[in-house]
Symmetry: C2
Subunit: 348 residues, 2 copies
Amino acid sequence: MEENNEKKLTELSQLGEFGLIDRITKDFEIKNDSTIFGVGDDAAVVSQRECELLITTDLLIEGIHFDLTYTPLKHLGYKAVAVNLSDVYAMNGTPKQITVSIGLSSRFSLEAIEELYAGIKLACNRYGVDLIGGDTSSSQKGLIISVTALGEAKKEDIVYRHGARENDLICVSGDLGGAFIGLQLLEREKLVFMGNPKVQPKFEERDYVLERQLKPEARGDVIAELKKLGVKPTAMIDISDGLSSELLHICERSQIGCQVYEERLPIDVQTIEASEEMNYDPTICAMNGGEDYELLFTVSIADFEKVKGNKLFSIIGHITAYGSGANLISRDGTSVPIIAQGWNSFAQ
Amino acid sequence: MEENNEKKLTELSQLGEFGLIDRITKDFEIKNDSTIFGVGDDAAVVSQRECELLITTDLLIEGIHFDLTYTPLKHLGYKAVAVNLSDVYAMNGTPKQITVSIGLSSRFSLEAIEELYAGIKLACNRYGVDLIGGDTSSSQKGLIISVTALGEAKKEDIVYRHGARENDLICVSGDLGGAFIGLQLLEREKLVFMGNPKVQPKFEERDYVLERQLKPEARGDVIAELKKLGVKPTAMIDISDGLSSELLHICERSQIGCQVYEERLPIDVQTIEASEEMNYDPTICAMNGGEDYELLFTVSIADFEKVKGNKLFSIIGHITAYGSGANLISRDGTSVPIIAQGWNSFAQ
């Protein structure tokens, strides 16, 4: 998909590593005062006087985390940045800088890499972050992307996973399960396409779930909204591996239990329709489908009036005492223990 | 080499991603006050009130940057950290924290990864840095290691590549070419071994150059020595791609020329012997062999008395006017233009 043979493409060996770095970084502007020196020396320099620094990193590997047969490189670049910024927001911080390292096999042309960096740049502009460094290398197989994000937060504003207390309300932003079912749709159409390349993919009225998978957003808007409401969550995590897995992280770190109501789970109508078409239970998609990059957070019951009825997030349950377990209350009132079905890349 | 079938090894799928993270990070202690929160949340938290923050990152890919047939995993872990810290020292800073992400194919056992992390831990202890985060993932092929290092420096102490001025002295720490010739030895013995696995490798009296390749050190001692001498370099870079390539970086960034003397190049006797044995010119090894991770720096001529005759570094030449080029003065007095022969991973 990244190879378009109609126009002449530039081989990376013509440019060399430094030529490539110059080419892909020249259009990035510095947007933050805290970025003292970006690309072009042994290390980047960042100033951080009044805030704490937040650091998070993700490694994305072709064939494991993404499939270039249906992932446009520009979307991939955007997503690689967004998923890291999501981790900074999940600490109640503001992302400021990123480094991006890439490993490339010889099948990638300069034009393909420029597409990837166009997506990285779009995300940098959308979220106001500076690209300040990285590394480029060849790889033996496929594309490897390693992103590290830096952010800032005042010490008293940082929200960890370990702060949830009994009776806190459990909230989740946006809706769940879309990214998972979007992936299943893409995988299905890929199989069809591989059987008969002339068949057109069936994606009618599925644009929302496809976008959830291919171009997720980091929920900085939710962080801003909470600040506006005067609400500091007691615990927070972003949903990368699935709601079940993240709930269990909060329970384990905070040494508490939780109760979540199936009927309260926010699921988009497209997610429901696509799930039913593909014989998935929408609740399972919402609980165990990963990559939604929504924020899961707990707030004190005293903040109920401030958070109720908000368009950006839903109250899905509450925190219970340690030892009571993590449970999903189904529509018929049955309590079902929540088990992490999150993605284990080593299991296959 | 990492697979030892005599004792039963633990498959990563038994542990899962979170089990693996717990296992490999549990023995790391926090050593720096600036590390507020390390592994175990969406992002790590670092405090940096009085200094600027330095950030650098490297991506190491099996088959491109290392060969596990002759690289012990413990050495590899150590080296992956050291080469990043080298970049922090090259800014005249002090490394404080690292993140380490790894991608692993299914052939790696838990025990193999523990070896890798034993080396990472050794480097963390040796250099006083904290492991504060990372990502673990499976890979389709081989081992991928992405390290990001954070360091600190007072704003007025930071040394960039762009500060060299005409008449400055050019200095280099340690000796050059050893890592390159060590690699050639390892590659030669690998070929012999592949032809006849019963042949024992010929490494007599080559321990120094092998160690230069397999377990390089970052020259924090040189930074400390310069501080003690009261010398702040005008420009500095670490030698990862070869002296020629790094000299050209300094010339380009500082907009100056340089003159380096062949007879002044510091080359260890083992490097000379191994070079001659393998029909390499030691000067070429010193100029163009990469991975020595020595520091190349320029100091004002006014500091000559302070830097002369130091055991930790050599004066190899001086900075000339912009436009005079970068030249090596050979033993017979001929001036030869310096051309970057540094490693271009895209060229093969």
